[in-house]
C-alpha cells in the first residue's frame, strides 16, 4: 500500500529582496519527503532557512519555486482542515486574553470546542488557565502556543524552536508529551539549533546550512558527521604554567601529530564542569585536540 507522505517537497526555493535591493536566497532547492509517523529534526544555525521552510510547509509563505504538498494537499488547505498545525517562533498572543480564552478563541475558529480541555491538559496549563497571558512567563506562553497547536488534533505538528524560554524541567516534560504524541502516530517535525534536542528526540535529522540541506539521515549518522569525536589528553605537568601551556612544547605536539592526519589542534580552557572535576580530582591541566 502506498501511503501519502505527510510532507512532500521538491526543488523548494524562496528568495527575498533585501532592503538594499539585492536578492537573498533563504531556501535553495530543498527536496524533502517525510512519512506519516516520523519524528524529524531540522537542525542548523540561525539564518539557515529553517523558519522559511516551516513557513512554506504551513502555506504562510509562497515558494519562489518548486512544489510542496502536505498530505497530498496544498499546505494552506491542510492547515484549514486542521491536518497540520504548528508552534511558530514568530507566533504571537494577545496579552489581555486569559490562557483559557486564548485556547477557546482558536478552538472556536477550528470548530473544535470539544478539544479545549484536552489541549489545556496536555500542555500542562490547567493550573494557570485563568491567568492573563500578560502575566505568563516566556515558557508558559510557549506552552500556550503548544496548546493552540494541539487544538485541531493535527496529524502533523511542526514546531519551530519549541522550547525557547522553557526551563530545564519544563523542557523535559514538553518532550515527554511530544514522545507520547508520536507514539500515538502523530508526525512531528521540529526545527532547533540545539544539537542535544535533535539527538535525544529525533529519529531522523536534517541538517540545514545557508538554505540547503547538507545532511539528511538517521540522527546517529548525522551526529557522527556533524560532531565528530573529540580526543583529549593531559600534558605532562612540567610544561604547564600558571599562564597556560608552554608554546614550544605545543608546537612539538602539533608537529608530532601532523603525520597522523590530525589538524586543528587547539587548547581550550576547561569548562566549568571540567574545572570542577579537575579541582576535585587531580591538580592537572588539560589539552584537547579535535579531529574534525
Amino acid at each position: 500500500m502506498s501511503r501519502t507522505p505527510a510532507i512532500h517537497a521538491t526543488g523548494l526555493r524562496k528568495q527575498f529582496r533585501a532592503t538594499d535591493g539585492s536578492e537573498v536566497v533563504a531556501v535553495d532547492d530543498v527536496d524533502l519527503t517525510v512519512q506519516p509517523g516520523e519524528i524529524v529534526a531540522f537542525l542548523g544555525p540561525n539564518g539557515a532557512g529553517k523558519t522559511t521552510t516551516v513557513d512554506m510547509l504551513l502555506g504562510l509563505t509562497t515558494p519562489s519555486g518548486g512544489t510542496v504538498e502536505v498530505y497530498g494537499e496544498a499546505p494552506g488547505r491542510a492547515v484549514a482542515t486542521g491536518r497540520v498545525s504548528a508552534v511558530m517562533q514568530t507566533g504571537g498572543l494577545l496579552n489581555d486574553f486569559t490562557v483559557l480564552e486564548t485556547v477557546q478563541a482558536i478552538a472556536h475558529l477550528h470548530g473544535r470546542r470539544d478539544r479545549v480541555d484536552d489541549a489545556i491538559e496536555r500542555a500542562g496549563l490547567a493550573p494557570i488557565a485563568k491567568r492573563r497571558v500578560q502575566a505568563c512567563s516566556g515558557g508558559e506562553q510557549q506552552r500556550l502556543k503548544f496548546a493552540l497547536a494541539l487544538v485541531p488534533d493535527p496529524d502533523l505538528i511542526i514546531l519551530d524552536e519549541p522550547t525557547t524560554g522553557m526551563d530545564v524541567s519544563t523542557r523535559q516534560s514538553f518532550w515527554e508529551t511530544m514522545r507520547a504524541d508520536a507514539a500515538e502516530g502523530r508526525t512531528i517535525v521540529f526545527a532547533t539549533h540545539y544539537l542535544a534536542e535533535a539527538d535525544e528526540f529525533a529519529e531522523r535529522t536534517i541538517l540545514m546550512k545557508s538554505g540547503r540541506i547538507v545532511q539528511d539521515g538517521r540522527t546517529a549518522d548525522v551526529r557522527a558527521a556533524f560532531g565528530g569525536r573529540t580526543v583529549s589528553f593531559q600534558p605532562p605537568a612540567e610544561f604547564v604554567h600558571a599562564d597556560g601551556i608552554d608554546p614550544d612544547w605545543l608546537a612539538r605536539v602539533s608537529a608530532a601529530l601532523e603525520p597522523l592526519g590530525i589538524s586543528d589542534v587547539e587548547v581550550s580552557s576547561a569548562s566549568l564542569e571540567a574545572a570542577f572535576l579537575a579541582l576535585t580530582a587531580a591538580d592537572t591541566h588539560e589539552l584537547e585536540g579535535a579531529d574534525r
Binding site: 501519502t4 527575498f16 492547515v79 484549514a80 511558530m88 504571537g92 486574553f97 478563541a105 496529524d155 502516530g185
Partner: protein, 269 residues
C-alpha cells in the same frame, strides 16, 4: 458554506469529530474578542466614561433652545459622536497591530480567512461604538435633553454609522506609522480634531472656518443636522452639502492613506 470537513478520504487512522458550523465558529470567536475589549477599563474610560462625563459637565440640564431641541441635546449628540469615533479608531487600529504582532500568524493557522477577520473586527468596532451612543443618549433622555423623536433616531443612526469613517482613519494611522504607540497617537489626534471639529466647545470666526475643513466637523455637523438644520452656535449656517462633502472628502483621504500604508508595509518584506 459547508460546515463539516471530510477527512475520510485519507489513509491515516486518526479520526476527527465533526466540526461545528462556520458561522457558529466565527460568532464564538467574535464574542470572546468583544468581551476582551469591553473589559479593558482604560479603553472603556476613554470610549464611554470620558464622553459621558463631558456631557454631564457641558450639557446637563441646559434647556436653552437650539433648533428643534435644546443645548443638552446638542451636547449629547456631540459627545456620543466623540465616544463612538474613539471606539472605532481604537478597535480598527488595534486590529492592525494584532495582525502585525504575531496573533495574525496564529490566526492564519485556522480556517478563518483574512476577509472574515476584517468582518469580525468591523462588527466588533460597530458594537463597541454603540455602547457610548446608547449610554449617553439614555443619560440625556433622563437629564433633560429635548428634541423631536425624529431628531433622536436620526442623530443616533448618523452618529453610529458615521463612526465607521474613523475605523478607516484608525487603519490609516496605524498602517502609516506602524508602531505600538500608533493607537495612542490616533486616539490623541481625535481629541485635537474634536476641538477643531466644533465637537467640544462652540467656535466662531476664523477658527470655525478652518475647523470646517477638519475630519470630525462634517461628521458631527451631520449628526446634529436633524436638530440644528445647519445653524451653528455662532449663528452661521451650513448648507447640507458642506458636511456631506467634508465626510466624503475625508473618507477618500483616509482610504488613500490606508492603502498607501498597506502597500508600503508589504514592500518592506
Amino acid at each position: 458554506m459547508s460546515a463539516t470537513t471530510s477527512t475520510g478520504t485519507t489513509d491515516t487512522a486518526r479520526d476527527r469529530a465533526p466540526r461545528s458550523s462556520r458561522l457558529a465558529a466565527v460568532t464564538g470567536f467574535a464574542l470572546l474578542d468583544l468581551r476582551r475589549r469591553l473589559r479593558s477599563r482604560v479603553e472603556m474610560f476613554f470610549i464611554v466614561g470620558l464622553p459621558a462625563f463631558f456631557y454631564l459637565v457641558f450639557g446637563f440640564g441646559d434647556d436653552e433652545r437650539v433648533g428643534s431641541g435644546n443645548v443638552a441635546m446638542y451636547v449629547m449628540i456631540s459627545m456620543a459622536a466623540y465616544g463612538a469615533v474613539t471606539a472605532t479608531t481604537s478597535v480598527a487600529g488595534s486590529a492592525v497591530l494584532e495582525r502585525t504582532l504575531g496573533w495574525g500568524r496564529q490566526l492564519a493557522l485556522t480556517p478563518m480567512r483574512p476577509l472574515t477577520f476584517v468582518a469580525v473586527k468591523t462588527v466588533i468596532a460597530m458594537a463597541i461604538a454603540a455602547v457610548p451612543i446608547a449610554l449617553i443618549f439614555v443619560i440625556g433622555a433622563f437629564t433633560g435633553a429635548r428634541g423631536e423623536t425624529s431628531d433622536w433616531i436620526l442623530a443616533a443612526l448618523i452618529v453610529w454609522l458615521g463612526s465607521s469613517l474613523f475605523a478607516i482613519y484608525g487603519l490609516a494611522v496605524i498602517l502609516v506609522f506602524r508602531s505600538e504607540n500608533a493607537v495612542g497617537i490616533a486616539s490623541g489626534l481625535i481629541v485635537i480634531m474634536a476641538f477643531l471639529g466644533n465637537v467640544f466647545t462652540p467656535m466662531s470666526g476664523l477658527i470655525l472656518d478652518i475647523g470646517r475643513l477638519t475630519p470630525l466637523y462634517g461628521y458631527a455637523a451631520l449628526a446634529r443636522y436633524p436638530l440644528t438644520d445647519g445653524w451653528t452656535a455662532s449663528g452661521s449656517h451650513d448648507p447640507l452639502w458642506l458636511p456631506l462633502a467634508n465626510v466624503a472628502a475625508w473618507a477618500v483621504i483616509f482610504t488613500v492613506l490606508a492603502v498607501w500604508g498597506m502597500r508600503r508595509g508589504q514592500e518592506r518584506v
